[in-house]
Amino acid sequence: MISVTVLFLGPAKDLAKVESVALDLRVGATVGDARRAIAERFPRLGQGLSKMRLALNQEFVADTQVLRAGDELAVVPPVSGG
């Protein structure tokens, strides 16, 4: 197993009711696998999660990207800066 840190940002933080959690995944798990695991563990994020981008170590990545132990995975809801 590997452990990654998941950060919930902006509106996602209010839905998840937590700022960050450690998420355990199998070796070789992808960002998409993490997305599914997050959806299961935080049902309040609901369908909104499909519209949220995931940033791996502060870069937007595709769901096919493979995760490594210690990665920082951020749940980034639609942004509203400016």
Partner: protein, 146 residues
């Protein structure tokens, strides 16, 4: 060629300093600056909007802004670019974001400035809450208004 300054600030944007940063090169014939401010609005139920509260995924926001500024330097042959975003509370009438671009000619400077604010609004992890006079607070809806 090309020099960028990117900053996340708490408190008023140092407008004169930002403009100063992009000035001074006589080969740059066109400078465009954009300031986006908290617009006065009113909600039928909650009354006037008093401020916006901004927060960011700061490390990533800074990185994204730097990347965008450098990309704009390349795409629009800009000499200097400054992008400053304010975080925390921004009262009605005050600026939350400022972009300054100096280019050889005006057309590219306008284009670069427009591209930067549009891309910032899509890709930089910053969020805001609307705060109304009666104390009601909600996350700003994501709208695509020019």
């Amino acid at each position: 060629m090309g020099d960028v300054r990117v900053e996340l600030v708490r408190g008023p944007i140092p407008v004169a300093q930002v403009r100063e940063f992009v000035s001074g090169d006589p080969s740059m014939g066109g400078t465009v600056t954009f300031e986006g401010s908290t617009r006065a609005e009113s909600d039928p139920q909650h009354g006037p909007l008093v401020r916006l509260d901004y927060e960011a995924y700061e490390s990533m926001a800074r990185r994204q802004l730097e990347r965008l500024a450098h990309e704009a330097v390349d795409r629009f042959s800009a000499g200097k670019i400054a992008v400053v975003h304010r975080l925390g509370s921004v009262p009605v009438g005050e600026a939350s974001v400022m972009i300054a671009v100096a280019c050889g000619h005006r057309a590219k400077a306008f284009e670069a400035c427009r591209w930067l604010i549009d891309t910032l609004k899509k890709d930089v992890p910053i969020w805001k809450k609307d705060v109304f006079e009666d104390g009601f607070v909600k996350w700003a809806e994501v709208r695509n208004v020019d």
